[in-house]
């Protein structure tokens, strides 16, 4: 497998561990983590900080019958009996998309509902809460990534192919995290079409090329 060269940053890992990233960023982070053991172990370390914070958060007195009430919850839960089958997580069966992304798309690459985004680029906006947005981009080999000017944080994860910008080359599994005001011009490398998952917390700018019929679906 391609060696991942560009990883998640500490502040993003802290925010993901703390559970404060917008949903759209969560999806990109979870997808990268599914591909990258390095970041997965980083995340576990950031979660261990959460464990330490919990240990030292102080104690708030529980009601007298809390433990009994908790046992009652356990007994009445439909999950109470589903405790066997340790290896219930099947290994990913081929395909391009890691599981978290497949959950949002409702399938793998062939299930994506692509829309033209101009200059041969196609995109599919995935449904998340509105404080940030996430979309799949299909960039033909050699083409420029459109609409990449951003006022917020932007995260771009390469799933297939590669792109270059002024800073580096990003191949499959790599993630580029750009702060607001970073200007760059990502271009897909020649030879192979590039598929990315990109999230931003800046308001989306819709070009006139986007079919009006898609707009209700996009939940703007």
């Amino acid at each position: 497998m391609h060696t991942i060269a560009h990883h998640l940053t500490d502040p993003i890992l802290t925010a993901y561990a703390a559970g404060t990233l917008p949903e759209a960023f969560n999806l990109v982070v979870a997808t990268h983590l599914s591909l990258c053991d390095e970041c997965r172990s980083q995340l576990a370390a950031h979660e261990a900080v959460g464990g330490a914070v919990l240990e030292d958060a102080g104690e708030a007195v529980m009601s007298d019958d809390a433990l009994d009430a908790c046992f009652a919850r356990i007994a009445s839960s439909p999950d109470a009996l589903i405790r066997v089958g340790h290896n219930h997580h099947a290994k990913r069966k081929g395909g391009l998309f890691p599981e978290p992304l497949r959950d949002y798309v409702g399938g793998d690459l062939d299930a994506v509902n692509w829309r033209p985004a101009g200059l041969g680029v196609r995109q599919a906006i995935l449904s998340t809460s509105k404080n940030a947005s996430v979309r799949l981009l299909y960039i033909p080999a050699g083409a420029e990534v459109p609409d990449h000017g951003h006022n917020g944080t932007e995260m771009t994860l390469v799933l297939k192919g590669a792109f270059r910008d002024e800073f580096a080359r990003f191949g499959a599994g790599d993630i580029e995290i750009c702060d607001p005001n970073v200007e760059h011009t990502p271009v897909a490398e020649p030879g192979e079409d590039c598929i990315c998952l990109a999230a931003t917390d800046a308001p989306l700018k819709f070009s006139g090329l986007l079919p009006k019929i898609a707009q209700p679906f996009l939940r703007i």
Binding site: D10, A15, R40, D56, E59, S129
Partner: protein, 189 residues
């Protein structure tokens, strides 16, 4: 609200004790072991949720919920990858996301692992010691910085506000977990 005792601890000993109790819950549905975990963690989860903005009654309800999840998901606990406190934290965090934000949270693909082969005892102990070192380092941070870390984990800071590194020694615990992941990957083959 009472503040947790800051009495000195032998390195990692408490963590190992919680781990042993959770394994008894996992393997034997041991109610007494669970009761001891509950008495330690439920008040902390409640305090954590209150500091995250939940009312006392909501935090109580959710703390019970989190602890019920600890029982139900005990089979997913891997002592080679996380301390009990860390694992309980992730459950409480996810509950808070459901509750306060109503967002969906994408989780990384699960690695398949089973109850066997267990990580060896030395591995678990070293993780416990790393965890304890991390906690001590957190307590020794300058107060301003420590409060910032706490606020981040209580959900009080946005990702753009968490601009600086925490200054915590994450390196050792990270490499420990990296080894545990490699073990899992190896077993998958």
């Amino acid at each position: 609200m009472a503040v947790a005792s800051k009495a000195p601890r032998r390195s990692g000993e408490d963590d190992l004790q919680w781990t042993a109790l959770l394994l008894r819950v996992r393997d034997h549905q041991d109610r007494e072991a669970f009761a001891r975990l509950f008495r330690h963690f439920a008040p902390r989860v409640k305090a954590f949720l209150m500091k995250s903005g939940a009312s006392p009654s909501l935090a109580e309800d959710c703390a019970q919920d989190v602890m019920a999840t600890v029982w139900q998901k005990a089979h997913l606990f891997d002592p080679g990858r996380a301390s009990v406190a860390t694992w309980v934290f992730t459950i409480a965090r996810n509950r808070r996301i459901d509750l306060l934000r109503k967002d969906r949270r994408a989780e990384p693909e699960d690695l398949p692992w089973g109850p066997e082969p267990e990580p060896d005892q030395a591995e678990v102990m070293e993780l416990a010691q790393d965890t304890e070192r991390l906690r001590a380092a957190l307590q020794q941070l300058p107060e301003k910085q420590r409060l910032l870390v706490e606020r981040a984990y209580f959900g009080d800071l946005s990702h753009s506000e968490i601009a600086t590194e925490t200054g915590l020694p994450l390196g050792t615990i990270k490499s420990r977990i990296r080894l545990a992941l490699e073990r899992l990957r190896h077993e998958m083959k």
